[in-house]
């Protein structure tokens, strides 16, 4: 497992830290350093609110290596309220609860473990908005 790669992605994975474009105000996730809209440099860090909605979803029964123990699980394209769409697992819900447009919030969860002795990788997942104050 690439320990250094996980470490490098930690900030965006734990906290949804992306970037914002000084020129046109577009928010970027993941951070790319160049604005996708106006091609201006976009290096200012921006922490996303973690709120968004399900744009589309699917359920994984035949999981890739490292995720077998979690199957079946749901993966969604989540449209963040600031605009970008991210791919992430859904959690804290039953499969029959999912629908397109479902309001979701970011949580930090265990993504995978590298066997019994390797590192534990943490990062963002999304769940249905659980409590009223979260949407304030």
């Amino acid at each position: 497992m690439e320990v250094s790669r996980h470490w490098r992605l930690q900030e965006q994975r734990y906290k949804l830290v992306g970037e914002t474009c000084d020129n046109c105000g577009v928010k970027l996730f993941p951070p790319r350093d160049v604005c996708l809209e106006c091609a201006a440099p976009a290096k200012e860090l921006y922490t996303f609110t973690g709120l968004g909605e399900v744009y589309s979803y699917t359920t994984i029964y035949d999981a890739p290596a490292g995720f077998e123990q979690q199957a079946p699980y749901s993966v969604a394209l989540v449209k963040l309220e600031e605009g970008p769409i991210v791919t992430a697992q859904l959690t804290d819900m039953d499969e029959d609860e999912m629908y397109i447009g479902m309001p979701v919030e970011m949580v930090t969860r265990k993504l995978r473990t590298d066997g019994d002795e390797g590192m534990i990788v943490y990062g963002y997942k999304f769940r249905p908005v659980q409590f009223e104050m979260a949407v304030k």
Binding site: Q89, T91, V107, T108, R109, Q130
Partner: protein, 355 residues
């Protein structure tokens, strides 16, 4: 003779400036467990316990509780000088949980981070150290967490109660606090009532030895000494919370100290979520803070096997009602409930041998 008494009081007054709870959504009823091992014959110590999901551990649960504490505390995470996580189920044997939490809440790099261990009182001993840290002026804020995904051997008495959950308490200057900590006290002896050896998957315990010489002796010792030094009796407190290994022990120890059921009820969560170990007394305190009014006085006493108790005397301030609704209540987490059967429980708790 100095005026140095048994109480622990910092030079500068310290209080709780933010608090947050976390309980995972899965519940296994105790009757489901007794059905597995005793054909459902005999009594059970609680109704049900909270179980963490496959993607949850003490790090992820601490992050959510810490975020709730920050929502109420409204402090800049960069002003936190200590992130201390007390648990007996840290995800790694070597590698701090606390650095993961500190990173996720944005408190790095200008902070201490450490993992604490003292069976079920690891979180409250971090709180006492945090009081000293803030009270001495070394830190403006210290984040202390008690959180567990407790282990119970299949078929053992502890399997009915060993649960997942806990709370984060953000300590800071008393003038910003939702509750001022008037004093605290700690009472410890070498009492081997419960332990887990290195590499052992499940803890061992001394059965009935965990009662009188362990839980009751230490909680009574800590509570009586604190109240004696403070010149208080049970009647001076509006609320009390004790470590909750089951439903019976905290009720009994409360009664012995002169507390009524009304005083301990809001913080007595074990019947519905089980024993959250390092989180147990602290999450009870969060449930009390969810209902307490300015001026209310609270007694909290933890218990950790091995053994010791930390006792705290707190007074709620006018600020509590202003911040309470900034994060989900502890009861809201308890109401979020998905019942699972024993088979699902064995999978979620990694009890299935896959090879």
């Amino acid at each position: 003779m100095t005026d140095f008494n048994k109480l622990m009081k910092p030079d500068r007054p310290v209080g709780i400036v933010g608090y947050g709870a976390y309980v995972p959504r899965f519940r296994i009823p105790a009757k489901e467990i007794s059905q597995m091992w005793t054909n459902g014959v005999g009594g059970v110590p609680i109704q049900e316990k909270a179980v963490n999901g496959l993607d949850e551990d003490v790090a992820t649960m601490s992050v959510e509780a810490a975020r709730n504490a920050l929502l109420r505390g409204q402090v800049d995470p960069q002003d936190i000088r200590a992130v201390w996580v007390g648990s007996e189920s840290h995800p790694y044997a070597v590698k701090p949980t606390s650095t993961i939490v500190a990173e996720a809440i944005g408190a790095v790099p200008n902070t201490l981070a450490a993992d604490w261990e003292f069976a079920c009182k690891a979180g409250t001993e971090a709180m006492q150290a945090g009081i000293g840290f803030v009270g001495s002026g070394m830190a403006r804020y210290a984040l202390t967490i008690g959180m567990d995904t407790a282990q119970g051997r299949p078929g053992d008495a502890l399997e009915y109660t060993a649960a997942a959950g806990g709370a984060a308490i953000l300590l800071g200057p008393a003038d910003e606090a939702v509750a001022i900590i008037n004093a605290s006290y700690s009472f410890v002896t070498d009492t081997p009532d419960f332990w887990r050896r290195a590499h052992a998957e499940y803890p061992s315990h001394g059965d009935r030895f965990t009662g009188e010489p362990a839980y009751f002796k230490h909680i009574l010792g800590a509570a009586e000494a604190l109240m004696s030094e403070m010149g208080t009796t049970a009647a001076d407190y509006d609320w009390a919370v004790f470590h909750q290994p089951n439903a019976k022990f905290p009720e009994r120890v409360g009664k012995q100290l002169g507390f009524s059921m009304e005083q301990i009820k809001p913080g007595l969560l074990s019947p519905r979520i089980g024993n959250t170990y390092s989180g147990s007394s602290m999450i009870g305190l969060t449930a009390i803070l969810d209902v307490a009014e300015p001026g209310d006085r609270i007694l909290m006493v933890s218990y950790g096997s091995g053994s010791g108790s930390d006792a705290f005397d707190l007074t709620v301030t006018d600020k509590l009602p202003e911040v309470r609704a900034n994060a989900p209540t502890t009861e809201a987490y308890i109401a979020r409930r998905k019942e699972i059967n024993y088979a699902t429980y064995t999978r979620y708790r990694d009890k299935l041998k896959m090879s």
